[in-house]
Amino acid sequence: MPLDEPTALERLINGILPENPVYRQLLGMCPTLAVTGAMMPAMTMAAATAFVLLSANIIVSLIRGLLKPHLRILVFTLTIATFVTIADRALAAYMYQMSKTLGPYVPLIIVNCLIISRCEICASKQSVGVAIADGVGMSLGFALALGSIASIREILGSGTWFGLHLFSYAYTVAENILGWVTTILGMGTLGLPDIHWQNWGIMVLPPGAFLTLGLLLGAVEWFGQRRRRAGE
């Protein structure tokens, strides 16, 4: 084994931001675009992907000494497909409505390049500990990416976050605070203007996914370049 393979801690940290699967490696675009209309499906997808990635990384790392180079991709795919099927069945059994919302995207985790690339790059070459750290890091990075896109899309598109009506809640809170302040100061009735959150419909539709991903990718790249220049 080459001496310059990253350590477990490096793998863990790299997965979250420096090698973020979505923003830095542009992997796993299918779920990134398809299930980020709201936080609940996005986080369920992130959890299912994390389960598959961790399990596949552990198994592949355990059997890495037995792998034949020309059959390794077959073994990876077999392993990934098994855990995806387990995740799919478990969702259908315990989160039936969510499993229907995600529909074909759970089985499609099989073709998420993120997982097979981690098997190839890390798990088939390094020890179980490093493979677990790598799986956790990459899963966190993936969840962070899905969560950032889904937050923007759900808040702008539906005015909610995890299904909570953020804006009407904030409005009620603001109204109450204003009410107390005016009562304490004896200013009589001073109401908030009657405003409502206008849903930005396109954000929950497929174009919203492309727009958000493009803008966030641009922002991440811009900050990255600024930091690199500052470091020079």
Binding site: A34, L78, T82, I86, P104
Partner: protein
């Protein structure tokens, strides 16, 4: 290399793949045996919850399950939808068939003498997102309401004439649309007479 060593060579190369395939297959069989009944129960609950939408006036707590033998000789569960007084209002028939991507499960609502479709609901499908999966949309499913069971439901590309037994296909998803119609037609052909005989 002789034939014999070539053969042992293959096994030596592939034993891990063969072993893993068997082990994973066994594990998945275990998962399916454990979770299968729960998933079936979820589906049954969902069936019960949509029955009022498929048959007008039906009350889901009054629904009766009946097992009949279809024309193909296989037993099949159908649901007799009744209103809150227990008066029969119509039938709900589960049907399954091949779609464009995978199996499609639907529920068909029928009036009491099985002459008219009163509703359609897609329980499970894995059709192309954004195209074929629009068969889940009430806008598509409602196109089947009022169609006669005396002749097969046709699928056409334009708005069908009033009174015709045709439904308009989804744009870009002709095969998915036709699959649903085929599932409905074959289920009705198989079960219409057995239900009437009950």
């Amino acid at each position: 290399m002789s034939d014999a060593t070539a053969k042992t060579g293959y096994i030596r190369q592939a034993w891990l793949v063969i072993f893993l395939a068997l082990a994973y297959g066994g594990a998945l069989a275990g998962v399916q045996t454990t979770l299968g009944p729960r998933i079936e129960e979820n589906k049954r609950q969902e069936t019960y919850s949509v029955i009022p939408a498929l048959v007008e006036g039906a009350d889901k707590s009054q629904t009766v399950e009946k097992t009949i033998t279809g024309k193909d000789g296989k037993p099949q569960t159908v649901f007799l939808a009744r209103d809150s007084q227990g008066t029969p209002r119509g039938w709900v028939v589960p049907a399954t068939g091949q779609g464009f991507a995978d199996r499609i499960d639907v529920l068909i609502g029928l009036d009491l003498d099985v002459s008219t479709i009163t509703g359609l609901y897609v329980l499970d499908q894995k059709e192309t997102p954004g195209l074929g999966n629009l068969i889940q949309d009430p806008a598509f499913q409602d196109r089947f309401i009022g169609k006669r069971t005396s002749e097969p439901v046709q699928v056409v590309k334009d708005d069908p004439a009033a009174g015709s037994n045709a439904v308009k296909a989804l744009t870009g998803a002709t095969i998915s649309s036709e699959s649903v119609a085929t599932i409905v037609n074959s289920a009705l052909k198989n079960l219409k007479e057995p239900i009437r005989e009950l």
